[in-house]
C-alpha cells in the first residue's frame, strides 16, 4: 500500500514505534517529482504554445523594433546604427509628423466622445424594455463588426465621393454637397463619421453595465418622487462611470492607432493635402514607400509612449469621476 508520505512522515505518535514506523514507510523520492510539481509541469506545458506566441510574435519583434528605431534601415539593406537621430528628426525636422499628430489628436478628441455618447444614448433607449430588443441589438452591433474593414471603407469612399450617394440624396432636396472625400475641409469628418457609425461594441458593453444597476435604487428613487432625468443623472450615469471609463480608455487607445479607414478613403496618400494623414498612415508611408524603416520604428515607439501617457492620465483623472459602487 503506497501512502502519500510527504504529508504523513514525521507525524503520528512520537517515540521508537514511530521511528520504526517511519523507517518502514517509503521515503519521498527526490528524483521523482511530487504531485504538486507534476501539476505545475502540466500547467507550464499548456502555457507553452501561448508563451511561444508571446515571445515570437510580440516580445522579439518588439525588441527588434526598439533596436531598429536607433538605426537607419532601408529594408533592402542591413540596418546601420545612428543613435538618437531618428528621434531628433521626428521632433525637429519633420513638419509632416507634427501634422499627422494634429490630425490624429483631432480625430480622437472628436470621434471618441461622440461615439460614446451615441452608444450610451442607444443603450439607454434599448434598455427601456423595447419589444424586439434582441433584433435591434444585433442590428446596431453589426456595423462595429464591419466598421474597420476594407470593404466598408471602400463603400465609404463611394457614399461620400463627389458623385456619391450622400450628394445624390442632398441633390434631391436641392443642396449641392461638397466633394466630401476630396475636400481637405471635410475629409476628416467622413472618417469621424465612420468611427461613430461603429458604435455597436461600446453600446453592448453599456447595455451590460445598465443591467448591473440594482433596480431597487430606481424604485426607491421613484418612491421619493424623482423624475426620469433625475434618475438618469443621479443614479444611472454615476453607477455607469466604471463602464464609461473602460470604454473611454479602450476607444482612445484604438482611435490613436486607426489606419484602415484613412488608408482606403484617402487612397493611401493621407490626402488631400495631408488632411487625413493619421499617425499610423504616415508611419506606414515612411516605412514602405520611402524605405525609411528605422524612422518608422522610432515613430511606433513614440506612439506607444503617447498612448501610455494618455492612458496614465486617464487613470489619474479617472479617480475623480469614476464611482465604484463599493466605495
Amino acid at each position: 500500500m503506497i501512502i502519500d508520505d510527504t504529508e504523513w512522515a514525521g507525524r503520528g505518535p512520537a517515540g521508537p514505534v514511530a521511528r520504526l514506523a517511519g523507517r518502514l514507510t517509503p521515503r519521498p523520492n527526490p528524483s521523482r517529482p511530487s504531485r504538486g510539481q507534476q501539476e505545475n509541469a502540466a500547467g507550464y506545458l499548456f502555457l507553452l504554445p501561448w508563451f511561444a506566441g508571446l515571445l515570437l510574435i510580440t516580445l522579439i519583434p518588439l525588441g527588434a523594433s526598439l533596436y531598429l528605431s536607433f538605426t537607419d534601415y532601408s529594408i533592402l539593406q542591413p540596418p546601420g546604427w545612428i543613435g538618437l537621430e531618428n528621434y531628433r528628426r521626428m521632433f525637429f525636422d519633420d513638419p509632416r509628423l507634427l501634422k499627422s499628430l494634429a490630425v490624429t489628436v483631432i480625430y480622437v478628441v472628436v470621434s471618441v466622445p461622440l461615439s460614446l455618447i451615441f452608444a450610451l444614448v442607444l443603450a439607454l433607449v434599448l434598455d427601456s424594455g423595447l419589444r424586439g430588443l434582441t433584433f435591434y441589438r444585433a442590428v446596431y452591433y453589426l456595423p462595429s463588426l464591419l466598421g474597420s474593414s476594407v470593404a466598408i471603407a471602400i463603400l465609404w469612399r463611394q457614399v461620400f465621393g463627389a458623385d456619391g450617394l450622400l450628394n445624390g440624396l442632398l441633390g434631391v432636396v436641392g443642396i449641392q454637397g461638397p466633394a466630401w472625400i476630396t475636400d481637405p475641409d471635410y475629409s476628416l469628418s467622413t472618417l469621424i463619421v465612420l468611427h461613430i457609425w461603429s458604435f455597436g461594441s461600446p453600446m453592448i458593453i453599456f447595455l451590460a453595465g445598465l443591467r448591473q444597476i440594482p433596480t431597487e435604487l430606481y424604485e426607491a428613487a421613484r418612491v421619493d418622487g424623482a423624475g426620469t432625468w433625475s434618475r438618469l443623472f443621479r443614479i444611472t450615469i454615476p453607477l455607469l462611470t466604471p463602464v464609461i471609463f473602460f470604454n473611454l480608455v479602450l476607444q482612445m487607445i484604438g482611435a490613436f492607432q486607426s489606419f484602415t479607414g484613412a488608408f482606403i478613403v484617402s487612397g493611401g496618400s493621407g490626402g488631400p493635402a495631408d488632411s487625413t494623414l493619421f499617425y499610423s498612415l504616415y508611419l506606414y508611408e515612411r516605412a514602405f514607400t520611402n524605405f525609411d524603416m528605422g524612422y518608422a520604428s522610432a515613430m511606433a515607439w513614440v506612439l506607444l509612449l503617447i498612448i501610455a501617457a494618455m492612458t496614465g492620465l486617464n487613470f489619474l483623472v479617472g479617480r475623480k469621476w469614476v464611482f465604484y459602487g463599493d466605495q
Binding site: D4, S34, R35, G36, Q38, E39, A41, A42, L45, F46, L48, P49, D72, S74, I75, L76, Q77, D93, G161, A162, P178, A179, I181, T182, D183, P184, G267, G268, S269, G271, P272, A273, D274, F288, T289, N290, F291, D292, M293, Y295
Partner: protein, 449 residues
C-alpha cells in the same frame, strides 16, 4: 475538491500530462508548416511575375504569359498585378522587405536606381546578348541603364510625355485643335486654347486636367529652358523661380476655370477609370502617350472617346520631349531561377508574337523590329501612338538620366503634395516653391530616405 491523495485524480493527472505533451508535440510541425516564406512558387521552373496596370492590361499580359507557357512548357509563370502605380511600389517594397519579391518585375525609371543601388535587383549583364539578345533595341535606349555595378533593368517599352486632346470635346465646343507648327505652339497659345475650351464648354467639362501636380509636365518646362530635374551629383537642377513660374501658370489657369477644380483633380488620382478624359469631361490632358490606348478602352472605344496626340507647347527652340523607357524588365536579386527569368524577359522583349498580343498598351516596343511588325495587327489607336513617335522622333531630345535615389519620392510624393496645398488655397505660390525645395533637398541629402 479532490486533493493529491485521491488516487483517481492522480492517475488521471498523470494521463492528462502525457496526453497534453503528445498533443502539444503534434501541433508543432503543423505550426511550423504554417509559417515561412513562399519563394518562387515552390516547384523548380516556376517563377512569379508582377506588373502594374488596369484590367485591360492584365488581360493581355495574361494572354502573353499563357503563350510563353505553351512555348516553354518547363516554366510556369504565376502572375500578380496591382491597379495603381503607387500601390504597386508599396507592395514591391513590402515584398522585397519580406524576402518574398516576385522574380520578374515590371520596373520604372523612377525606382530602378533605388532598387538597383540597394542590391534588390539581379544583374542582367551576364545574360545580355546570350539569353537576352539586345541587338534590335532602339539605339541608345539601354545605355542609361548600364551602371558601374551592373545592368538592373532592360528597357522594354517607350512612350512620350505629351498632350492628348479629345476630338469630341473640341468639336462640341467649336474649337480647332492646334496645328503642327512647333514655333506657333507656345505656352501662351496653349493657355489661350485651354481658356477658350473652358469658356465654351458646359460646367462639368473643362479645358484641361489641372497639371500643376504633374512633375513630368514640370520636367518638360524645365528642360525647355536647358535645365534638368536632377543633376548628376544628385541635386535639383532648377531654381525656385522656375517652379514658381510653372505653378503660377497652373494656378492662373485653375482660377480662371480653364483647368479642372481641385475636387475633380484629386478624384482623378492615378487610375484611368476616374480620369475625366475617359468620360469626355476635359478637352486636353498632359499624359503618357500610351495612355491614349488605356483611356480609349476605359471610355468605351474610339467612337465614344476619340483622342489624338499632339506635342506639348513650347518645344521650340529647345525641345524636351523624348522617348522615355516607360517600363523596364528587371529580375529580383533573390530569384531562385535566374535562367527562367532571363528566358521570360527575352520572350517579352524580343518575341514578335508577344509583341502582337501586348500591343502598345504599355508604350511602343523599344525593339524596333517588334514595333514595325505589330503595326498591322494592333488597334488603330495603338498604331496612332507608334506613328506619332515615329513622325516626331526627329525633333525629340535625348532621354534624361534615370532619377537618383529619392527621386521617386520627390516627383511622385512631395511635388504633388505641395501642389495640393497650393491648389486648396492653403499656401501661396512662393511659399509652396520654397516648401518643395526644402523637402526635396532634405530627401536628396539623406541619400533618398
Amino acid at each position: 475538491m479532490p486533493g493529491p491523495h485521491d488516487g483517481g485524480i492522480r492517475s488521471a493527472g498523470h494521463g492528462i500530462t502525457r496526453r497534453a505533451f503528445v498533443a502539444g508535440a503534434a501541433m508543432l510541425p503543423v505550426a511550423a508548416a504554417g509559417c515561412g516564406n513562399d519563394q518562387g512558387g515552390g516547384s523548380p521552373g516556376a517563377i512569379r511575375m508582377t506588373w502594374w496596370g488596369n484590367e485591360d492590361r492584365a488581360k493581355i499580359t495574361q494572354q502573353a504569359l499563357d503563350l510563353f507557357q505553351t512555348k516553354h512548357s518547363d516554366i510556369t509563370v504565376e502572375r500578380e498585378y496591382t491597379g495603381s502605380f503607387d500601390d504597386y511600389w508599396d507592395r514591391i517594397a513590402t515584398q522585397t522587405a519580406g524576402g518574398n519579391s516576385p522574380d520578374v518585375i515590371q520596373m520604372s525609371t523612377s525606382y530602378i536606381v533605388e532598387y538597383g543601388d540597394r542590391g534588390a535587383l539581379l544583374d542582367l549583364a551576364p545574360h545580355l546578348d546570350q539569353a537576352i539578345p539586345t541587338t534590335d533595341l532602339a539605339k541608345g535606349s539601354l545605355d542609361p541603364y548600364r551602371t558601374g555595378s551592373g545592368v538592373f533593368g532592360i528597357p522594354w517599352v517607350g512612350n512620350v510625355w505629351t498632350l492628348i486632346y479629345n476630338e469630341k470635346v473640341l468639336q462640341d465646343a467649336g474649337i480647332d485643335p492646334p496645328g503642327d507648327d512647333l514655333q506657333a505652339w507656345t505656352w501662351e497659345s496653349f493657355e489661350a486654347l485651354a481658356q477658350q475650351l473652358g469658356d465654351a464648354t458646359p460646367d462639368d467639362v473643362h479645358g484641361i486636367l489641372d497639371f500643376g501636380g504633374q512633375s513630368t509636365t514640370f520636367e518638360v518646362w524645365v528642360r525647355q529652358q536647358g535645365k534638368a530635374l536632377f543633376t548628376e551629383d544628385r541635386r535639383l537642377g532648377f531654381e525656385q523661380a522656375d517652379l514658381a513660374a510653372f505653378w503660377g501658370l497652373a494656378d492662373r489657369m485653375r482660377r480662371s476655370g480653364a483647368s479642372t477644380p481641385p475636387d475633380v483633380t484629386s478624384a482623378a488620382g492615378d487610375t484611368l477609370e476616374q480620369n475625366p478624359m475617359a468620360k469626355n469631361q476635359t478637352g486636353l490632358i498632359f499624359y503618357w502617350s500610351n495612355q491614349i490606348v488605356g483611356l480609349t478602352e476605359v471610355g468605351g472605344g474610339p467612337e465614344q472617346v476619340p483622342l489624338q496626340l499632339i506635342r506639348v507647347p513650347g518645344e521650340s527652340p529647345t525641345p524636351s520631349q523624348n522617348v522615355h523607357a516607360s517600363q523596364l524588365l528587371s529580375a529580383s536579386a533573390k530569384t531562385k531561377n535566374p535562367e527562367a527569368c532571363a528566358t521570360l524577359i527575352d520572350f517579352l522583349l524580343n518575341d514578335p508574337e508577344a509583341g502582337a498580343i501586348l500591343g502598345s498598351n504599355r508604350g511602343t516596343p523599344l525593339n524596333e523590329k517588334v514595333a514595325e511588325s505589330i503595326k498591322g495587327t494592333v488597334e488603330p489607336v495603338e498604331t496612332q501612338e507608334i506613328d506619332f513617335i515615329a513622325a516626331q522622333s526627329d525633333t525629340f531630345a535625348p532621354a534624361p538620366a534615370p532619377y537618383p535615389v529619392g527621386g521617386g519620392e520627390i516627383t511622385d510624393g512631395i511635388f504633388l503634395r505641395v501642389y495640393e496645398e497650393l491648389m486648396y488655397g492653403r499656401s501661396s505660390i512662393d511659399q509652396a516653391a520654397a516648401s518643395f525645395f526644402e523637402q526635396a533637398e532634405q530627401v536628396l541629402a539623406r541619400g533618398g530616405k
